[in-house]
């Protein structure tokens, strides 16, 4: 089983990202489960969403404390939330930021750190600073757990028409960027 924790702020679509990732993982032939850290959601407040994927049906219902992967939608969260808490050494941390991964080497984790300027991609391609789906593209590239095409498909299914198309395009850019960094 692989466990993923998504950190964001209320309104950034962390829960939607977890849901879309669960759909994409299922498309790839895995069993999956996505759920929010059930809170009284407020716009701007730190929130979490969780996602599990496995070859077998998933029964466990607790929150995720030792994730294989962590996605951070907003770099300012690093100052207020322990985003690396429990993150497995073998795992990966994906951060939306202008900075390169080197800027985060003081973080308390041995996991691989990948960064992507998802906000810039969002503004360039979609025209609004919504990065949740774009980070899933980065996740697909960094981890290989889910096919980028399955993520694009899930996003286009959820957001009809142009919005879905633009999101899919942005997802591919983030995917290619992270692949490029990894292959450099």
């Amino acid at each position: 089983m692989k466990e993923i924790r998504i950190h964001g702020r209320g309104g950034q679509g962390s829960v939607t990202a977890a849901e879309l990732l669960s759909i994409a993982a299922f498309t790839d032939g895995k069993f999956s489960q996505a759920f929010p850290a059930f809170g009284v959601e407020r716009r701007g407040a730190p929130v979490q969403a969780f996602m599990r994927l496995d070859d077998a049906p998933i029964r466990v219902r607790s929150q995720i404390y030792e994730p294989d992967y962590v996605i951070v939608q907003d770099p300012t969260l690093l100052d207020v939330v322990n985003v690396t808490g429990g993150l497995k050494e073998t795992g990966a941390l994906i951060i939306n930021t202008k900075e390169s991964a080197d800027a985060f080497k003081n973080l308390d984790t041995k996991a691989k750190i990948m960064t992507v300027d998802a906000t810039k991609i969002a503004m360039d391609v979609i025209g609004v600073p919504i990065v949740n789906t774009i980070l899933l593209g980065a996740f697909a590239a960094a981890t290989g757990e889910v096919a980028v095409e399955s993520i694009q498909e899930a996003v286009k299914e959820r957001f009809a028409g142009k919005v879905g198309e633009k999101n899919a395009e942005a997802i591919r850019i983030a995917y290619d960027f992270v692949k490029g960094v990894m292959n450099a």
Binding site: E19, F35, F38, S62, Q63
Partner: protein, 404 residues
Amino acid sequence: MAVNPNDKSKMVVVEGSYAVAHAAKVARPQVISAYPITPQTHIVEDLSQFMADGDIPNCEYINVESEFSAISALIGASATGARTYSATTSQGLFLMHEALFNASGMRLPIVMTVVNRAVGAPINIWNDQQDSIAQRDSGWIQLYAEDTQEAADMVLQAFKICEDKNVLLPIMVCMDGFVLSHVYEPVVLMDQKEADEYLPPFKPDHYLDPKNPMSFGTLGDPSVYTEFRYMQEQAMKNALSVIEKAADDFKKVTGRYYGGLIEGYELDDAEVVVVSFGSILGTIKDVVDEYRANGEKIGVLKVRSFRPFPTEAINNALKNAKAIVVIEKDISIGRNEGALFTEIKAGLYNTPTRIPMTSYMVGHGGRDIRTSHIKEIIEATKKVAETGKIDVESQFNEVKEDLL
């Protein structure tokens, strides 16, 4: 278990609430009335969408200003012979409390999903099972679902159970709030043909009809009142076998089976048995698998039906254990234990079975239950099995001393 890996090709990933709303839709309800309240809201939103899209033919969706009106509307509708559905939770269920007894006393087969949530004060929107447990004596059948597939399928089974002429009692299908209502996971959405094959139209013998006037819920003076309660109790007793049959029939049509009244998991040779209900069972089963991998004889007893309480089935399932532990998300304040523990003990009292039994109250107000918690509970129960001695009969699993 609920999810059959062989069903994978038929599955889609949807929110638990959607799966439940879809199940209510294919049950062909004729009247729906509900008032939105977290975490039930998504179910009634999805049903409203189905209605707006014309996907629930011959159905009236009655918008109301409160839960009291929602259940009252369904009492009236059900009395005319209509198939009726609602969903609620927590304070909304409490606002229905008075009318719940009417629905049962009038023998109306209303199906209602209860999305289990804690109750105030303090205000809390998160999951525990205090809300439905507090309605224990209202004369409603209560079933508890383990995952979203079961919560959805249980809606179909519920109609089949409560409309049975030997039952005719309202029924709560209980599912853990957020944990099941807001989770996305793969489920099979039952198609209409399959639903129709399983669930025939509701054709009651007695219903309100201007051409054949009769009354429901009239005065019952001391000379007749006892017999109404007796007949409700008989109907509950009848429900025991009807619940089993509804599960068996469902398996024949869909291949899915979750147990009838109860369901054992790794139970046959189990020395330590963990008893519970609701979504926490999934977490417990994962932990039990770890113990089994080490050759330790730990098993699980899932209680599906809390009302009627399946005393005989539970006693039978537990009789070979060396120690029993009940894990539940409620409390009877002043008794320092949850309702399930109380009832299992009571059911065993006049039998030869004497097995040490303890209880842990967990997850109040949505506090997360981790596998480590379950392991601690099982470790403590293993000691009870070895020594036969109980230190603390019933306790809160976790109390933060610094907050007291």
